[in-house]
């Protein structure tokens, strides 16, 4: 480590310059996370900006090289912590792909319910925060009660709320409880009304529209070149969605549309996310109906919540661990991380809250990955930020940042 300089040094010619240097972040209330932008502004116009990232870099890829597969799930929680279940499921599916497992339909649909709830939760945060940054606090308070209910559903399924560690390789750790189904029903019954109210507050709100339309635009070509995915890419007019392009977890069974925008500005990103919330809502409805159908055809299916072939990775029920020798042995083997995965090279992508969340896993046949790389959508598209805000207003830069939905955990890995 070189010696740090402690005296203040003025940049060369800083006294003569006509523009202002503004430090936006690292801990600024409007950045919603720890990242820094050093802006060069002329009045209110942004001339250039320089980003600093890595404030909460935790070296997950390195840590993962020493963790048994099931212990990596909690690391994925902490990537995009606004929609942890999607990260968890993506990681489980990566291992399942490596093992060549195919899950029962009911498990796939249960996963779809959880993932779409997570997407709704993620988009609710992003959209309501865009509104907050434009000065409209009310919508935020409306929808947050319903995000709270989504978290309660997670809690019923897996026991935790924000960093969920939900599900296991091969399915879920336990079946959905009755309370979970009741809470899901409550959500399905009450949410549309509130969402409509939220939309009525903002969608055609003159002030909101004036504020967002034309702010922070990016065209389709630049967005693709910058590696944009998810709602931000779709707002620019490219209909790429991993759920459709490479369906996983039986997404091909569902009927839904991919909303796209045209100009890729803040308003388009907001509208795309809003429409995706409705699409996710419809997917959950379809999933519930499909599960009911399966259970009606064969009541024994009610107890299926994981693939039996995944027994090497799925912890046996606690009562068996206390009474049966084999279950006890498996329990210990798993907890001590003595389960070996076959060698292989897998890339698996899921449609996360912010776009294509990819897992590049290289296994050499050991108990831990030889190399694991997360393709974190935020990290890739956040580098376009200086180009997007250049020559715009400072206040547009703020709402652009929140509408891009940059999540510090995902950004820094």
């Amino acid at each position: 480590m070189s010696e740090h300089q402690h005296h203040i040094q003025l940049a060369e010619e800083s006294l003569a310059k006509q523009t202002t240097t503004l430090n936006l972040g690292p801990t600024h209330p409007a950045t919603h996370g720890i990242f820094q932008n050093i802006l060069e502004i002329d009045g209110e116009k942004v001339l250039s900006s320089e980003q600093t990232v890595g404030y909460i870099h935790r070296a997950f890829e390195k840590i993962a090289e020493r963790r048994p597969y099931y212990q990596i799930t909690p690391l994925t929680d902490r990537l995009n912590y606004c929609s942890s279940p999607i990260n968890n499921m993506g990681w489980h599916m990566t291992i399942e792909k490596l093992l060549g497992l195919k899950l029962p339909k009911r498990v796939d649909y249960l996963r779809v319910i959880i993932m779409e709830l997570a997407r709704i939760g993620d988009h609710l945060i992003c959209n309501s925060v865009v509104a907050v940054d434009t000065g409209a606090l009310t919508g935020f308070t409306y929808v947050f009660q319903w995000r709270e209910l989504i978290y309660e559903i997670y809690e019923e399924v897996c026991g935790s709320r924000l960093t969920t560690n939900i599900g296991r390789v091969g399915g879920f750790e336990r079946n959905f409880s009755d309370v979970a189904w009741q809470k899901l029903k409550k959500f399905m019954d009450g949410f549309p009304k509130v969402m409509k109210e939220f939309e009525a507050l903002l969608n055609r709100n003159r002030i909101f529209m004036e504020r967002c339309i034309g702010a922070g635009p990016i065209n389709a070509e630049r967005a693709l070149n910058y590696g944009f995915t998810g709602p931000n890419l779709r707002a620019a007019g490219v209909d790429y969605d991993v759920r459709v392009a490479q369906p996983y977890s039986s997404y091909e069974d569902f009927d839904f549309t991919i909303p796209v925008g045209t100009t890729g500005d803040v308003y388009d990103r907001y509208m795309v996310r809003n429409d995706e919330i409705w699409q996710s809502y419809s997917i959950i409805q379809q999933a519930i109906a499909k599960i009911e159908e399966i259970e009606k055809a064969d009541p024994a299916q009610k107890n299926i919540f994981y693939a039996p072939e995944a027994d090497k990775f799925h912890l046996p029920p606690k009562e068996d661990v206390y009474t049966k020798m084999e279950a006890l042995i498996y329990h210990f083997k798993m907890i001590m991380g003595e389960i070996e995965a076959p060698p292989g090279e897998v890339y698996h992508a899921v449609e996360g809250g912010n776009g294509e969340l990819g897992f590049y896993l290289l296994s050499d046949g050991g108990r831990t990955p030889y190399r694991l790389h997360f393709r974190r959508p935020c990290f890739i598209y956040y580098q376009a930020y200086p180009e997007i805000i250049k020559d715009g207003l400072l206040s547009d830069a703020i709402i652009t940042l929140s509408s891009l939905n940059v999540i510090a955990g995902e950004l820094d890995g």
């Binding site: 890595g54 790389h373 580098q383």
Partner: protein
């Protein structure tokens, strides 16, 4: 005609002949190896003539035991029109880890290459701003290389043998 793994392999072989090797299809994704100085040519060809306009991912892997090809840079590319992905790799010696930058073709490569430089020390020749990105600026080693174990190597209770990898990591 929609692209499939076979047609891609055929087209690339016609263009580059024997220079592309180790064709594989793990879990359905076409994978091959290119000579390290050819990475840009291959990428440009994929971009211009075969519609691979999206750089999905760029990262590296360290193989400490393969002499003179210790570092492997892995590219994942995506043709969104035909909906095909492919992966290709270049190998470079750790003593001279020079690979051409992809930033001229993909703006997205900028930070991905910085991250790879930061973690593995791959030198992307021609990169406009090759600095560390996630780790502290005055770090003087490349932490994702295998010679840096996660745990303190002097501790005996956390021997690698207990974690499924016989002996200590070299």
């Amino acid at each position: 005609m929609a692209l499939t793994n076979e047609t891609i392999q055929q087209k690339l072989s016609e263009k580059f002949g024997e220079q592309l090797t180790e064709w594989q299809e793990p879990y359905g994704m076409l994978t091959f190896r290119a000579p390290s100085e050819m990475n840009l040519k291959v990428m440009q060809h994929l971009y211009d003539d075969m519609g691979f306009r999206f750089l999905t991912d760029l990262t590296a892997v360290h193989y400490p035991h393969s002499v003179n090809e210790e570092l492997c840079v892995v590219y994942h590319m995506h043709n969104l029109v035909d909906n095909v992905r492919l992966r290709f790799k270049v190998f470079v010696p750790i003593s001279k880890p020079d690979v051409f930058t992809a930033t001229q073709l993909f703006s997205a490569a900028n930070w991905m290459e910085r991250e790879t430089f930061d973690n593995f020390g791959v030198n992307f020749v021609g990169h406009p701003d090759l600095r560390r990105i996630l780790n502290v600026d005055d770090m003087d080693y490349f932490p994702m290389r295998k010679e840096y174990p996660m745990e303190d190597p002097t501790r005996t209770d956390k021997d690698d043998e207990m974690f499924g990898r016989g002996g200590t990591v070299v």
